[in-house]
């Protein structure tokens, strides 16, 4: 069974938080929702786990007990120790086994077993939150910005926890504002202002921008251009004088998708 949302629209009063958004979450796959603040990432995850009202569209998800969810806060109790936080989560899911030593070692938390949640660093607290979401080996793992502001070593450990859950057969969905993390996911949805700009595997998204991104020496007089390390890129449907072929990456492709969306909006 594959999970996700199809044609999902979420409205809060007059405000449309999500408009006709689709996302696939297959078992054994890591899917990523990327976008800036206010793009609708949290609303999408909340709808996926059953915590946001659905105005139209379809949500496919397993039973609540088979979902592991890390909300935008970490859900870590500050006045419980790391062990007590895990015990509490295990009890909530009726787990008999309390074998989380392996998970804690993978998260780099084995040495802080007895520390209070409130005394953990931001990175550690985030890793504990992810560990708690994975504890009952859920079929669908939903993580809201697990790595934002987290140090690089903790980010790598969280990526390992996510990969291990997918290797174990879970469908994993996480949100991020980092494009380099999206580039490593199997499936990517780019959200902006509640609308899906583009979706699919990172290679497919980049391939779609092929032939529309060109390298130029300096800022052109017309057209949308942006700087990269080795010079300028410009968005153009055709190759004009002074433009050289450029190999777009995910960052270029997302910029192109945003520009195309803006063009469609202006035409409408």
């Amino acid at each position: 069974m594959s999970w996700g949302v199809i044609g999902l629209t979420v409205r809060y009063g007059r405000r449309t938080a999500l408009s006709d958004v689709s996302l696939r979450a297959e078992p054994g796959t890591v899917s990523c929702v990327v976008g800036g603040d206010g793009a609708g990432k949290t609303t999408l995850l909340r709808a996926l786990v059953g915590a946001a009202p659905i105005s139209s569209g379809v949500v496919l998800r397993p039973a609540t007990t088979a979902i592991g969810y890390l909300s935008a806060g970490t859900g870590v109790y500050p006045d419980l120790t790391v062990r007590e936080n895990l015990d509490f989560t295990a009890q909530a899911y009726g787990l008999r086994e309390r074998k989380y030593r392996g998970l804690l070692e993978r998260a780099g938390l084995a040495d802080v077993w007895d520390r209070l949640g409130g005394e953990l660093s931001g990175g550690m607290r985030q890793k504990l939150g992810v560990t708690m979401a994975l504890l009952h080996r859920p079929q669908l793992v939903v993580l809201d910005e697990p790595t934002t502001g987290v140090d690089p070593a903790s980010r790598a450990q969280i990526a390992r926890l996510i990969a291990a859950a997918a290797a174990d057969g879970a469908a994993v969905v996480f949100t991020t504002s980092y494009l380099d993390e999206a580039e490593r996911a199997g499936e990517v949805l780019v959200l902006d202002g509640g609308v899906g700009l583009t979706e699919g595997g990172p290679d497919k998204i980049v391939a779609e921008a092929q032939g529309q991104v060109w390298a130029v020496a300096g800022r052109p007089e017309r057209g949308f251009a942006w700087r990269r390390a080795d010079g300028w890129r410009v968005w153009s449907a055709e190759q004009l004088p002074g433009m050289a072929a450029a190999r777009p990456d995910l960052q270029d492709a997302v910029i192109v998708a945003a520009l195309q969306h803006r063009q469609r909006q202006e035409a409408a």
């Binding site: 976008g35 934002t148 140090d151 990969a163 942006w226 990269r228």
Partner: protein, 284 residues
């Protein structure tokens, strides 16, 4: 002319905890120095000392050749994480206010998209434009040093590209810029990088210097899940990239041995900046 920023062995503690530990940092005119690190790595504390808002406990700190002062403050355009915009004034009023506060005259050329929203209240702007307005406000008095604390945090890629464009424009005109970020992908927008981890400088130099000839091993197999379980079980530093795996800190022979009968296509590839940052922090 005096160097805009020169720090040597700078340290600062809060309640006995070293937040900034012996940091060296130079920012010259006409360059962007990226200050990279996680929340709590010490980036903001360094910036606040440069601004003269915090006094260092130890080390040397010179801004335009002298300790921070009112005179040096006039030369600095500081963008705090809180942005510092008046939400109940329009964009144009915010910019005029900034010019008056610094006693500078006429309009300077601004971001064209901001000109279109000049009459809107800041409160009504989407975040991307709001950050761009805050940046324009910082530029109004033509500062010679830009100190930008996570100017692109939470901003979508299109507006991020625009913001970086404006930073580079100001630097092309001769300003110096110190920009903090926790996006490692923004490293390529900077001329030099200072990577902070737990208050210390973990690495410094150009992107090429920091990455050097470090390598990773890329692994393509029929079943990434089995390969991941084998490599992870062998204690290797392994990451999932789509349906391929990347291993850092191990050579191809060791990876092949850990994979055993699973096999796969192994290739040695240049390490990414992110992979290098993780390895450096792990060692630090």
């Amino acid at each position: 002319m005096n160097t805009p920023v020169r720090l040597h062995g700078l340290s600062k503690s809060f309640d006995g905890v070293l937040a900034v530990d012996s940091v060296d940092l130079v920012v010259d005119a006409g360059e962007v120095v990226g200050l990279l690190g996680a929340n709590g790595a010490g980036k903001t504390t360094v910036m606040r000392m440069i601004m003269g808002l915090l006094r260092p406990d130890g080390g040397d700190l010179a801004v335009f050749g002298a300790p921070p002062s009112r005179a040096s403050r006039r030369e600095i355009g500081y963008l705090a994480q809180g942005l510092g915009l008046y939400v109940d004034l329009t964009v144009a009023e915010n910019l005029r206010f900034a010019r008056q506060a610094y006693g500078v005259g006429s309009d300077r050329p601004t971001d064209p998209e901001l000109a279109d929203v000049g009459d809107m209240l800041v409160d009504e702007l989407p975040l991307g434009l709001r950050r761009r307005a805050a940046f324009e406000m910082v530029l109004q008095h033509r500062p010679r040093l830009l100190v930008l604390d996570e100017p692109t945090s939470g901003v979508d890629p299109l507006n991020r590209a625009r913001l970086w464009d404006r930073v580079r424009d100001a630097v092309d005109d001769g300003a110096a810029a110190l920009v903090s970020t926790h996006f490692t992908e923004e490293a390529q927008n900077c001329d030099r990088l200072v990577m902070m981890h737990e208050g210390r400088v973990a690495a410094a130099g150009t992107l090429a210097q920091i990455v050097g000839d470090r390598k990773a091993v890329s692994v393509t197999t029929d079943s990434w899940a089995d390969a991941f379980t084998a490599l992870d079980g062998a204690g290797m530093s392994v990451a999932l990239h789509g349906r391929d795996l990347r291993v850092t800190g191990s050579d191809p022979a060791a990876v092949a041995e850990a994979l055993g009968a699973l096999g796969g296509i192994l290739s040695e590839v240049p390490a990414s900046f992110d992979e290098v940052f993780v390895e450096l922090c792990r060692r630090g």
